[in-house]
């Protein structure tokens, strides 16, 4: 049973389009992290969300944490080719690390 559902798994869009990636669970997150992994490299932390209803912005990336802390989303505005990569949500449940399935994003020029 997948405790952390991430969708979509694959996304191919044109440069300039917007997109949203979702991460959901039936359990309550104490906190949730989003990572981006570029081809041939290790994942890099983008953001940690902690408070229900929280919204964090990182340039063209907007992260939301659901009020009930059971879901989170990552929205990218006006995607660029440099946004291509694997996006991962990670739930650290008191030392037990649970990744979502990942979203493979391809942004075409």
């Amino acid at each position: 049973t997948q405790l952390l559902e991430q969708s979509p798994q694959f996304l191919s869009i044109q440069e300039g389009e917007n997109l949203t990636v979702y991460c959901n669970s039936s359990s309550v997150f104490s906190s949730l992290q989003w990572y981006r992994q570029e081809p041939g490299e290790g994942p890099v932390l983008l953001v940690t969300v902690v408070t229900g209803g929280e919204v964090k912005k990182l340039k063209r990336l907007t992260f939301q944490f659901g009020d009930a802390r059971k879901d989170s989303s990552l929205h990218i505005t006006a995607a660029q080719t440099g946004d291509t990569g694997l996006y991962l949500c990670l739930w650290n449940q008191g030392g037990k690390l649970i990744f979502g399935q990942g979203t493979e994003l391809s942004v075409k020029p």
Binding site: F29, Q33, G42, P43, L45, T48, L88, G94, L97, F99
Partner: protein
């Protein structure tokens, strides 16, 4: 710059021939992790060390072992690699194990099994 270093970046081994992957860190973090990642999939945690305390994931095959001789170094030993063990192996560190701790990943070692 403080970082997580993995050597080698690419490793080729033969079916059944033991192989060791290396990870070192200059962050002085307490926790070191080993992950296996297959193409377009999320990393799968194999085990982690909290200081010298070894924590194995329940579904990690016995074929995978690890050593942490000191704070800075951690090794992944694959005793008898099979074709299904071909993957990217990622090492990561964190200051602690709690939810707010950032994981710092190395660039990975891509293992090919012939």
């Amino acid at each position: 710059d403080a970082m997580v270093i993995q050597n080698p970046r690419y490793q080729v081994t033969q079916f059944g021939k033991p192989v060791t992957l290396s990870c070192s860190q200059t962050l002085n973090h307490n926790v070191m992790y080993w992950y296996q990642q297959k193409s377009s999939q999320a990393p799968k945690l194999l085990f982690h060390y909290y200081d010298k305390d070894f924590n194995n994931e329940a579904d990690t095959p016995d074929n995978f072992q690890s050593r942490r001789p000191n704070t800075s170094f951690c090794f992944l030993d694959i005793r008898s690699p099979g074709l299904g063990d071909a993957a990217m192996y990622l090492c990561a560190t964190s200051r602690g194990r709690g939810g707010g701790n950032e994981q710092f990943f190395g660039p990975g070692t891509r293992l090919t099994v012939l």
